[in-house]
Assembly symmetry: C2
């Protein structure tokens, strides 16, 4: 999968605990059917074996729909399932080490909550930035806050794609998109909704509308 063709516009980050009794792989499939363009498997508090088993199932789905699969934090899992890439936070593997171990052809995304972190990640070869939290978020309690002004500044200061994350939902997505970013990452706005396919579809519709306005 060529790195230049990635559509970052609606980036689903998983959290299976939001699904209740619902199946993770089915949840992801519904989200993709609704218009998710990229999937990041971010699962905490699981054994390596369980993470791998989840990743194998999810990879089967993302491959079927030709949607890139990014693994959060765990380079071992990314290698084990030959995922399309890895997303590293500031407490994960350093960008340079991740690139050294994954090679030039995998997508590597880096979380940034300051301009300095964003510029460093770009300089070190990150393929995209996840910038946030732009709003209060229940799914990542340690996330620092990033104002929309700062988000816009970061977007204007780098040449790689910027995806906003943190508390983005159907009520504020349009406001976030006006900053000129390349896409939004959502967790609860899709996975905590009763109708996952419809939730993704509505978010995607707002994004498409905004993209038209930009042109």
């Amino acid at each position: 999968m060529s790195k230049v063709k990635i559509d970052y516009s609606l980036y689903l980050v998983t959290d299976r605990t939001l699904l209740g009794e619902r199946d993770l792989a089915q949840g992801i499939e519904s989200a993709i059917q609704g218009g998710v363009t990229l999937v990041q498997l971010r699962e905490k508090s699981v054994s390596t074996k369980e993470f791998l088993q989840l990743a194998v199932r999810v990879k089967e789905i993302t491959t079927r729909y030709r949607i890139p699969l990014i693994i959060n934090d765990r380079l071992d899992i990314a290698l084990a399932v030959d995922a399309d890439g890895l997303h590293v936070g500031q407490d994960d593997l350093p960008m340079l080490k991740a690139r050294e171990l994954l090679g030039p052809n995998k997508i590597i995304g880096v979380s940034a909550s300051t301009l300095a972190e964003a510029l460093l990640a770009q300089q070190q070869g990150a393929d995209y930035l996840g910038v946030g939290a732009v709003f209060n978020t229940s799914t990542k309690s340690d996330a620092k806050e990033v104002s929309l002004e700062k988000l816009e500044l970061i977007k204007k200061s780098v040449s790689i794609p910027v995806v906003a994350i943190g508390g983005i939902n159907i009520t504020n997505i349009q406001q976030v998109m006006t900053t000129g970013i390349d896409g939004v990452s959502v967790v609860s706005a899709i996975f905590a909704q009763e109708d996952i396919l419809m939730a993704a579809k509505q978010l995607r519709a707002v994004i498409k509308n905004q993209q038209k306005t930009d042109i």
Copy 2:
């Protein structure tokens, strides 16, 4: 480091929480000075970044003393520091996947608590087995029990080195060594002791004594 020359006799498995205020790298250095022949970095509840930082420091010490360094569970960390090997439990990466990603020259150890698990691991190319828990252990609450009779049976049934683990200390190490195994893994018996160097030295002395008896 050639795989055939590994001395499994006194295998330190780390748990920095046992050290209190003491430094992990210093604790490992003292243990090596006391006679530890192999070190496994097993640290839970740390971020990937912190695990990597610990591994980098420990690798510097093990390299200096020419003691092999094995990383528990996390193949990403093993790759990142170019460790000598990886130890996988039954909830970690499958043996075959670990071998595929690490190649033939790295040591891979597998935890086994049954003869079936031991035989499968050997068949899949494990370099050694960690068998236990042979006694009650406070450092791994989910460990299944393995009697000394079963340990001896496993040792006789495989051709790869067998290391016993679980609650082994200065009072029971001689009894465990009589089963003919290749070494013992210890955590608390070294790291929970006030004088780490002396604790390792005393364990090593019993092992050397037993090895003489065997000849």
